[in-house]
Amino acid sequence: MKVIVCVKQVPDTSGKVAVNPDGTLNRASMETITNPDDMNAVEAALKLKDETGCKVIVVTMGPPPAEGMLRELLAMGADEGYLISGREFGGSDTYATSQIVAAGVNKIGVDKDDIVMCGRQAIDGDTAQVGPQIAEKLHLPQVTYAADIHKDGDNITVKRMLEDGYMTIKVQTPCLLTCIKELNEPRYMSVGGVFEAYSKPVTVLDYEALKDDPLIDATTIGLKGSPTNILVSFTPPQKGAGMMLEGNDMATCEKLADLLAGKHII
């Protein structure tokens, strides 16, 4: 049995977010981190490893420096890493990305008792699309928003969160689960793990390695394979210096409430 965890390296938006004058993100000025929800997926996989001794494989799509992130996940206890990287994959939207990552997962191979895990969504795009789309491409059942996972043989029981409660869902392996932060508290790398991280295997999957997968052709990857296009990206107007409202009566409060409602804040 193995758990394949799909992870993404993202800019750390918890600090200051720098935007270039042309409305694009100044990625160079921001630190990169492993996407937080993905860390919960890694932790869930490592917990299964602790319980069952299964293998944990981490896979990401990104530029070559993303290997550094994979090494950190290996230092946490994952066994193997795969880096899907290639010029041909650039410009992919979520659909094309799912197509490519699914091909990468196929290359690793999903067996009868395996689980694929993803974070619910990435903090850069917040789309929450890649997980379910990988599941569709791999013809796996999916359970999203997993807040609790129990494995008993091939049966997986998942607590799946809703806004107003939760569902308990039974699913069999192989399947794909997307994880949320309520699921667990990700562990730290360990000192011993760090010293082992660079001797664990990391395999680069480029276009050549994946091109024979039926999911991969010129019309399914990169810009050409992306059904969506960005028409324009822009920054919202800068937050003005504070606004002192006149008066302190009911009319003032109503004006403030209207302003908040107008901005969809309430």
Partner: protein, 377 residues
Amino acid sequence: MAFNNTDLAAFKDVWVFCEQRDGKLMPTDFELISEGRRLADELGVDLCGLLLGDNVEGIAKELGGYGADKVYVCEHPLLKVYTTDAYAKVICDVIEELKPEAFLIGATNIGRDLGPRCAARLHTGLCADCTHLDVDMGIYKDFLHEASTLDNERIDGLNTAMVLGQKHDVSRDLKMTRPAFGGHLMASIICPRFRPTMATVRPGVMKKRPFDQAKADACQIVKPAFELSEADMQTEVTEVVKAAKKLVDLIGADFIVSVGRGISKDVEGGIKLAEELAAELGGVVGGSRAVIDSGWLSADHQVGQTGKTVHPKVYVALGISGAIQHKAGMQDSECIIAVNKNDSAPIFEIADYGICGDLFKVTPMLTEAIRAAKAAK
């Protein structure tokens, strides 16, 4: 005939997935139907609801009251409770048969499970968690003039997009605008080559129209044919549990109402007013160091250098002067509202909105005004 999603002319009508839980429509359904009505009018097509469930026909007509011309109702015992398997199958089959031009889904936990799965199966584009939708170029450009820092020339030139090296006229495309990077960037997305264009829409953003009984009565109910059996099911929902919203701590709260030394003349009264405002906003109460040190609130409420660092959507500071160590814990809030008697209190330097006045008088009025504004939505 095979489903050809690149034959754009074959697709028409705007569809809205109408989510029901326990046989009850969700608030997002009415918001999306209301918004969908505008888009359908701009395109000159019909607006259709798509409602899946078991024995749900009775609730379909209400959607007409908010603008649906037609509601497609798919009923089956396996559709009673949401499952990805059953819903994605039925929806994709019906879409392939009836070919809507645009398909909107509420970005609820269920919508965000369903949308991407369907888009992947239909091989089309999906834009997640949209906060603005447009077809009409004039209205879209007006929106950009107001909500972006783009210059006028750039906005006026946005009539075409380069799509695979070709100039593409975007006037009939759904322009789907969404925030990224926590709202620091916005992007308008189009799906120029495939249909239907799909979007999940953030709950609470679109305005609900007034209900119109005559339109509800006129709304047509259509039951498309579909096939669904146990063999399609790979997951089983063994229970659905409704839970009271669990208590949120300061760190995770979207709304925080904090009190400071300004409540000293009536501590209990001041905290009660803050709690009422927090309850109306759906948030929690915090406090400055002075309030915690005086024992008026327990330590887990403390915001600031020695307390917690918070970044809620709205931070309301009642009677807090805004010492540097307090500001350190809350200055990254998305919107800061300050109420203070002293018009030179430092808190006003970082507040988005300030009211100079007595918190004991202003707070109840503010609570009331927010309640009224929410009711009006």
